[in-house]
């Protein structure tokens, strides 16, 4: 029975072993199934996953690592095939040192790290989660990573675009500011900061605000509620802007146009305002200059009309008087033409010289030359350099014309033996007023019977018109021997300056 007992025991043992074996087999099968599942998961995940073993130099510095395991995505994420068992330096010669440093640190410290970095040689950016793997002394690291080059490029493009916009924003020649509902500037470029140094918009700024004043078309004050930034808070845009004046620290006034639109948050609620300020001093100045020049032109035109119509009226009057003096039509025509020419000459010299003054001696010479007489043995012209204003030029010009015409017809310029002396000097009268005294003196004219029988145009001109128009004191005598005429013009200050000036 002992044998039976032994057999039974062995059978029992066998049965146990079989059971164990079956159990073990089942365990192995389960393990294999689990291994397969994990393997499938390992290879199935989208991110690259590898286990690396750090390689250090003698000094313990990480200098390379070897790939121990890698999943299927590893190839997609790195482009590296058959990496198993090979080192990264072998496969990616230019691999950056900081990768070794980071993995070496993780392997040594046992602390996992998450980071993003670039692998220049692969032309990729990685988002990496790396953790220590295996036993501490193994220096192994499990690396879970994903190529994020596309996202990185998008980010970089965004940053670049933002930088570009920021550069434009900063360098714009207009002030641009974003303000919250309380008028505090959230964002302001350099120009906006210059214009609003307190970083508050004027409508909300008790300190600098009063320097800014809105200007309405009709000049009426503008209510604060109509200021662009305030209207923007109520959802109303002011584009193009409203005109403002603002006073700088030195008290100088500048012009600016201010535009504003509402600033809305994601929900569409108005959270503040966008304000654009454009200084328009230059524009304003040129507008003002244009207006001023237009105004001057208009005044000039008015002056011109006044003068033209006045001279036309004078000419008509001179014509009537010439006709009244009598004579045949030819002599009337000659007289009138002579007077008209003389008026024209006076007008011309007065407008030709920039300051409107004409030289007295030239005036006399031109008149004499117009009838073919120049100074010489019988005619002397002498006096200091004098300039006459336009009005005196016209008056005296007409007087010289009448005297010359008379002298040609009846006086010194008709008779060869007669002489004409025109002389002037400046004297101070007893009231201390400077006076230009001019004498027209004829000598040696035979006494002729044809003394003027009626008072002609010349007499009226010299005796009445000159005193009336120009305040010139005159005396006109028909003496034996010729005409003696004295003209005294005070150096009065009229609206257009002195009647005459010494050169």
């Amino acid at each position: 029975m002992a044998e039976n007992g032994e057999i039974a025991r062995l059978r029992a043992l066998l049965a146990c072993s079989e059971a164990d074996l079956q159990r073990a087999n089942a365990q192995i099968a389960a393990l294999e199934a689990s291994e397969l599942r994990y393997r499938a998961m390992f290879d199935g995940i989208d991110e690259g996953l590898c286990v690396i073993e750090m390689i250090e130099d003698e000094a313990g510095q990480p200098i390379d690592y070897r790939f121990l395991q890698a999943n299927a995505a590893f190839v997609r994420q790195t482009g590296l095939k058959d990496a198993m068992g090979r080192t990264v330096r072998d496969m990616v010669p230019g691999h950056e040192q900081h990768w070794f440093d980071i993995y070496g640190r993780i392997a040594r410290t046992g602390i996992a790290e998450r980071f993003e970095d670039r692998v220049e040689a692969l032309g990729r950016w990685y988002d990496v989660y790396a953790m220590p793997f295996g036993a501490p002394g193994d220096l192994q690291v499990a690396v879970l990573f994903r190529d994020v080059l596309d996202r990185k490029q998008t980010e970089m493009r965004l940053v670049e675009s933002e930088n570009r916009l920021a550069a434009i924003f900063e360098s714009a020649p207009v002030g641009i500011a974003l303000a919250d509902r309380n008028g505090n500037m959230l964002l302001a470029n350099a120009e906006a900061q210059r214009l609003f140094p307190s970083r508050r918009i004027p409508s909300h700024d008790p300190e600098f605000g009063p320097r800014w004043r809105a200007v309405s078309d009709d000049g009426e004050p503008v209510a604060l509620s109509d200021y662009p930034a305030i209207k923007a808070l109520n959802g109303i845009s002011t584009v193009p802007g409203m005109e403002f004046t603002w006073t700088d620290e030195d008290g100088a006034v500048h012009w600016a146009t201010v535009s504003s639109v509402p600033l809305r948050d994601d929900g569409g609620t108005i959270s503040g305002s966008v304000i654009v300020i454009h200084e328009v001093d230059e524009l304003k100045r040129s507008q003002e200059a244009l207006r001023e020049s237009e105004r001057r032109l208009q005044m000039l035109l008015a002056e011109l009309q006044h003068r033209v119509r006045n001279i036309l009226t004078v000419i008509r009057s001179v014509f009537s008087r010439t006709v009244e003096t009598g004579g045949d039509i030819q002599s009337i025509a000659n007289h009138f033409t002579g007077r008209l020419d003389n008026l024209a000459r006076a007008q011309m010299v007065a407008t030709q010289s920039a300051h409107g003054y004409a030289d007295l001696e030239n005036l006399i010479r031109d008149e004499l030359l117009s009838v073919g007489v120049s100074d010489g043995e019988t005619v002397t012209i002498c006096g200091p350099g004098i300039e006459l204003n336009a009005q005196l030029t016209e008056s005296l010009g007409l007087a010289f014309h009448e005297l010359t015409t008379n002298a040609l017809k009846y006086g010194a310029l008709r008779f060869p033996e007669a002489r004409l002396e025109i002389h002037w000097e400046v004297n101070l009268d007893d009231k201390g007023i400077c006076s230009l005294d001019l004498t027209w003196s004829e000598q040696g004219v035979p006494v002729i019977s044809s003394q003027p029988t009626r008072r002609g145009f010349g007499c009226e001109l010299i005796e009445d018109a000159l005193p009336y128009r120009s305040g010139v004191t005159t005396s006109l005598e028909f003496r034996g021997g010729g005409v003696f005429c004295l003209l005294s013009a005070p150096q009065s200050e009229g609206g257009a300056g002195a009647a005459w000036k010494e050169l």
Partner: protein, 124 residues
């Protein structure tokens, strides 16, 4: 028919001699008593202070001085007047827009007609 100017006293202010003389001669022909003429603003104001003319004829530019002070004084004293001028009407200040204005060169007949109309309006 406009009222006659006979015996009326009319101030003439014009700086251009020939125009002033024509005005004077033309008015004297109508048996008007001419005060002036003068071409000087201050003299004209002085004349006005001692007289009450029935009407006045005013040039606007008197030796480059504008005759507005005279026009204001005439309006204040309710003395009718007209302008003879080379300026266009836009040049006139608002206050004188209703004042008759004769453009130079003017016709004496029109001037006499206008003056007659002015002095003929009875005071309200």
């Amino acid at each position: 028919m406009p009222a006659s100017l006979v015996g009326k006293r009319i101030l003439v202010v014009e700086d251009e001699y020939f125009i002033a003389a024509d005005l004077r001669n033309g008015l004297v022909e109508q048996a008007v008593t001419v005060i002036g003429p003068t071409g000087d603003l201050a003299t004209a104001l002085e004349m006005l202070s001692g007289e009450k003319p029935d009407a006045a004829v005013l040039d606007i530019n008197l030796n480059d001085q504008l005759s507005w002070p005279l026009a204001i004084e005439l309006q204040r004293r309710a003395i009718p007047f007209l302008f003879v001028t080379g300026y266009d009407s836009w040049y006139l200040p608002e206050a004188f827009r209703d004042v008759p204005q004769l453009a130079k060169p003017f016709s004496m007949a029109v001037l006499i007609g206008t003056l007659s109309g002015l002095v003929g309006v009875p005071d309200a």
